[in-house]
Amino acid sequence: MTNTSTRNKVLWAIVTVLVLVYALFPVISILATSFKSPSDLTSGKFLPSSGTATTSNYEQILVGDAQGLFLSALRNSIGITLIATFIAVVLATLCAYAIARLDFPGKKLVLTTALAVSIFPVISIVTPLFNLWRTIGLYDTWLGLIIPYLSLTLPISIWTLTAFFRQIPWELEQAAQVDGATTWQAFRKAIVPLAAPGVFTTAIIAFFIAWNDFVYGISLTSTEAARPVPAALAFFTGASQFEAPTGAISAAAIIVTIPIVLLVLLFQRQIVSGLTSGAVKG
């Protein structure tokens, strides 16, 4: 018994290490690259050569030449993504609650439509959207990106939240109503707190999707007014035409990863579900 369990543990540890290396190696590689000086980029070594490690790449994008390009893009990305996420989560919460709780005709239709929208290839909508946005003046605006981002984030949010709401026992709401709550109070006081982990998880997924988008970002913007970070990275240039902007791009990539890591760390607790245990028997 003990033998097999120790062997199991060792096996699991090996698998975990392998997965970690596989997943984190690119990130660490980019981190190392971001500290290399331009001349060191082609050294073929993983770490910057000793003595040449530099923060010049960070200086360049935060306070140097590329500042205008990067900081405005960062602001755009944060703003657009947060707004898109917020709208998506609020709408999806209400929608998912209705789908999970109420019996109305067209319930299936809402779900299949959401699924259909989410499997539609982004690249095929981008061209017509480009023309349409230019005609109605949404081109190169925040709203012009928020709307397409909603089409990406809403379907998945509706699906995740519906699944989540279905797990919450009906009785809780009925109990609240018998205890003297209105329908809205029962929703807010008994259901929302329980749904919170699901809502946070959904919000984070939606945030990732909007944050990582490149196709919409590069096609529907033309200036710093709305261009998000992934698109802005493509516009980085080296100090001269003979220098690749690899270092600066790496530095920018590291910086845009930070909000995501923070977000996950911050809401780690809320994401852990299982909060419903103890509501009913079991």
Binding site: A175, K189, L275, G278, A279
Partner: protein
Amino acid sequence: MASITLNHLVKKYGDGFPAVNDVSIDIADGEFIILVGPSGCGKSTLLRMIVGLEDITDGDLLIDGKRVNDKAPRDRNLAMVFQNYALYPHLTVYENIAFPLRLAKGKHSEEQVDKLVTEAASTLELTDHLQRKPANLSGGQRQRVAMGRAIVRQADAFLFDEPLSNLDAKLRGQMRSEISQMQRRLGVTSVYVTHDQTEAMTLGDRVAVLKKGELQQIASPRELYEQPVNLFVAGFIGSPSMNFLPATVEGNVLKTALGDLDLPAEKARKAAGKKVVLVGVRPEFFEDAKLVEDHKRFNGSTFRATLTHTEWLGNEQYGYINFDPAPEMRELLNNLARDMDADELRPQVVVTLDAASRIRGGREAEIWLDTRKLHLFDAESGENLTRDAEAGAELTREAGEERAEEIATAQQADGQAAGGGFGTSTHGNGNGTTVDAGAGRSGGATAARGK
């Protein structure tokens, strides 16, 4: 505290199937009513109609004489304990109990909430657990929290939806007696849904037996047991359940598969004119003929039968006799079984024998049957031919008197024990108490308002 009147209540679902069909019950103030029946008989639906979670298709529901059909659950001022407790997992025990008070905004100051919750918690022995989350409580404790949420808010009536079915047998017995004592002490009108025989018989002032959405009989447990109105009630109430023997009547003699039984003249008269009847015999009507005292012997008749096996339980023993009914009778028995939710009624008679009896399985023995107590049922309609309605009503009336007495005693004892401090008496003149408290501690009240 309130009376509840169900007036020809009907619940039909979209497909026209009546889940509850024309049920009328008058529930008096302070009465403990049990709704019982096999699964799918509509008892839970009926309860949910009373509390307002199901719409009423037809009929009137009155609480204290006021029609509440169209009122939302929160306007009916009823408290309900759910089968799975429905505790709010994100709130502590304290907040769970305080939840209804917090919803009634402005009605209770923070101090009053604290006082009411602490009182309820001490009644239910939850004081030590107030700061814990429901997930960390045992089944019995969760059950008590659910009850705490009900008693804290001085509801007009308590509704219980199979509250004990998730507990293990020992805890169930304990909670059963706690619910019973609490109901008596608070004197609050209660409606309790269960499919458990024991709960129905021990808790209820009156028990309503439902079958396929229709009310069969509502009476005190004793009346149900001794004077059942039809086959269904007779078979449903009692454990082990009543034996049904097909028989033909010939004068004063019943011809059954167990042998010929002499009927008392009065019973025979009631069965006159019927060719086939079903004889209802409770297991305890039988006895080992050797152990029957002489003066009782003439009240019954004896027959010889072979027991397949016996089960000795210490205080008594059960014996089993198989019999072979005629085919058309077998059909009748199977229909009856279907009504009771069983697959097939085995043509078997269960007899209760004295623990001292030496009768053993496989040997023929002489068994005595108290024929005075037999019930005769119409084979077609299932109606009890030998029911004595007056005697039954008398039993239920007695139960009603006992209830009034018990409530009075319980409240008196409670008043003495707690120095008049507990629950109902305080709640009864809640206004007066509030004013006093306000006058006495106006500073505190202002501070509370200041928040």
